[in-house]
Symmetry: C2
Subunit: 362 residues, 2 copies
Amino acid sequence: MSGPLPRGKKRLMSGGRKVTIKDLAAEMELSITTISRALNGYTDVGEETRKKVVAAARKMGYTPNRNAQRLVTQRSHSIAWVQSDDESKFTDPHFVEVMAGVLREAQQSHYDIVLSSEISERQMTTYERYVHDGSVDGFIVDLPRPNDPRITFLLDAGVPFVVHGREERSDRYGWVDVDNYGNFYALAKLVIENGHRKFAFINGDERFLYASTRRRAVEDAVADMGLPPETVLTLEGTHPMGEAGFQLTELALADRDITAFLYSSALMAVEGISAITRAGRKPGTDALIASMNDELRYLNLAPLEGNITLVRSSLRAAGQAMVAEVIRQCERGTVSGTLIPSLFDLGTGVSGESIKGDVLFV
Amino acid sequence: MSGPLPRGKKRLMSGGRKVTIKDLAAEMELSITTISRALNGYTDVGEETRKKVVAAARKMGYTPNRNAQRLVTQRSHSIAWVQSDDESKFTDPHFVEVMAGVLREAQQSHYDIVLSSEISERQMTTYERYVHDGSVDGFIVDLPRPNDPRITFLLDAGVPFVVHGREERSDRYGWVDVDNYGNFYALAKLVIENGHRKFAFINGDERFLYASTRRRAVEDAVADMGLPPETVLTLEGTHPMGEAGFQLTELALADRDITAFLYSSALMAVEGISAITRAGRKPGTDALIASMNDELRYLNLAPLEGNITLVRSSLRAAGQAMVAEVIRQCERGTVSGTLIPSLFDLGTGVSGESIKGDVLFV
DNA sequence: ATCGATGTCCAAAACGTTTTGGAAAGAGCC
DNA sequence: GGCTCTTTCCAAAACGTTTTGGACATCGAT
C-alpha cells in the first residue's frame, strides 16, 4: 500500500511543484491572461468561463503567488510596525492593547503586519530598508517624541504612514490620537472644582509627546483656575508600569496636604491605590482618585468602581483606526487625522460624595 | 529657486523610479549578473570590481527589491505568527514577553515576523494561505492544545515550524518548552516536604497543554508522597490574569485547612497575595507561597522577595529559541527540541523559616 | 454588404532579481 | 604553438504574476 500521501486538498502538481496559474491555464485550455482576469473579477471574461475558472482554481487548490503579485503590482499589501527594543517601552501592556486593534483591522482588510524591533540607534536603517526594498506599503509610528526623526524621514520619503499622536507637523501626515490635552485639562479642572487645593499628578514618560502634552494641560488648568503652580505636584514615571505608580504615590503621600491623585494610566492608578491603602487612607473618600483608563483587557477595575473618576478611551480602537488610515493612504491617497472619543466615568470625592463635573463626553 | 528636492541620500532615478540592479549595471558598465554576484559575495568576481560595485551601490542607494528576490529564490525570509483573536489569550502579558524574544532573534537573523490574528474557526485558512502563497518560510505555534489541528496541518504540509510546548507528536516537530512537569512536581514536593498537608493550586487554563501537564505533575507528586488526592485543591483560571488569581485565592481561603498556595503564574500570585493579605494572613509566614515566575518585565516582584518560592524561567529566551529553531529548519533542514532552563529561588515557609528543598536547578 | 459596437479571449511584455552554462583572456606548462 | 587551468565576466532563462494592446467573432443598425 504505497503511493502518494492522501491530502485533504490537492495543492501540488506531480513533482511536488505548487499549482501555478500556468497549470490552471493548461488544465482549462485557456490563456493565463483569462485565468488572471477571471480570478480578479474583470468584466472582459464571460460569466460561464469565470465560474468554471473559479471552480477549477478551488479544485486544484490554486493560490496566487504573493511575491509574484507584489513584484508586478509594486504593492506588498503589508504594513510595517517597527518597535524600539528598549525594555521599558516594549513590554508595556498598552502596546498589546493597540496591537490587538492593529491586527484585527489588518486581518479584515487583508493586509499583513510586519512587526520588528530594533534598537533606537539603528531604527532608521530599518525604516530605510523597508521603504526601498518594497516589502511594505506603509508604516505605523508609535509613541512619537518631539521632532521625531521617524516622522521626518517618512514625510521626506513620501510614503504612507500613520502616527499615534500629533505634533507640529500633524497637518501633513495621517494621525490617530486621543484628546490628551482636553482630557487632562478637564480632569485637573474637575479635581480643583471639587475643592482640592493640592494634588499629585503621576505622569508617564515626558520624553513622549502624550505625556508632555498631558503635563501642559494640567498646568494650564491650574493656572486658568487662578491657582499657583505648586497646586500640582507632577511626578514622572519613566515607564508607565505599575511599579512606578506605587513608588511615586508613596512619594506624594509624604506631603499630607495632597488630597487628590491624578494618574496618567490605570495601570499606575491601581498600584497607587494600593500604596494609598497601605498608608491607611481610603481611596475615593480620604483621597480623590482620577485616571486615564485605556481599557487594558487584563486589568480589572471593577473593585474600584465608583471610587475612581476615569476618562475611558480605547487603545484598541486607536489601533484599528491606524491601520484603516494607512490603507486609505495607500489606496485612495487621502491623508487624514482621527480623534478617538473619550468617555468620562465620574467617581466619588472626599467623604464619599459623588464628583461634580460638567464634562461628560469629549 | 526650483529644482529637485534635496535628499540625504539619492535613492531615486530620474522619473522617480527606484534604483534597480539594471541602473547600477548601466552606471558601472557591467552586466547585472556581475553586480548581483559581487553584492552577494560570490568568488567569481574580481576583488577590485567587487569593491567598486559595493561603493557604487552605496552611493546610488541601491537596495535589492525584496519581492523579486523572494520570487526567484522561493524563500521569503519571513516567519508567520498567527494569533487567535480570543480576548483571553491575546491580551495575555505573557505573550508580549515571548514576542520580545521572537522579535529580537528575528532582527538579528534578518528575518521578518508576519503577525496576524484570526478567529479560531478561520485560523486554518490563514495557515493554508501562508503556506501556499509563498509569503512565509515557516511558522511559530503558540499555546498548543491536545491534538492541535495547527500541528496536524503543518506536519502534513511538511513546512518548517516550531511549537511552544510538547505533545504526543513532539518527536516529529521542532519545539521549545520549559519543564512544566518537572517544575511543578518539584514545587508540589517542596510544599509537602515542608509540612503542608493541604494546599491550593491555582492553575492556568487547562485546555492548554502547559496547564494540564502542570496539574498532572502536582497530582503525581501528591500521590508519590503517599498523600490522598484531597491534599491539593486545584482551581482553574480560565485565563492567566491577575483577576483570576484574586478570586480563586479568595475561594481557596474559605478552606481554613489550606496552608500553602501554589500559583501557575506570578501574575496570579501577586493578586493572590493581595487576597491573602486582605484576609488578614501574612504571606510567607502564615501561608507558604510558591509560583512559576515567567520574568514578566513589568511585574515587580521585589517587594515579595524572600517570602515567595519561585521557579524562574525566561519566556523571552523561549521566544528567541523558537525563531532560531524555525530558521535552522529552513536553512539546514534539521529539526530539534530545546528545553529552556529553570531556576529555583527558595522563599520562606510557615512562621518565617526558610524553605527546605533539594531541587535548585532544573 | 458594410460599419461600428460589443463581448470574449489571448500573446507578449514587464516587474527585478538569481542562477545556469558558458565565453574570453591570460597564465603556466610541456 | 598548443594545451589545460584559472580568473573574470556575461547572455539568457527563470521565478509567477498583471497589464497592455490588440484579434476575432457576433450583432444591430445603416
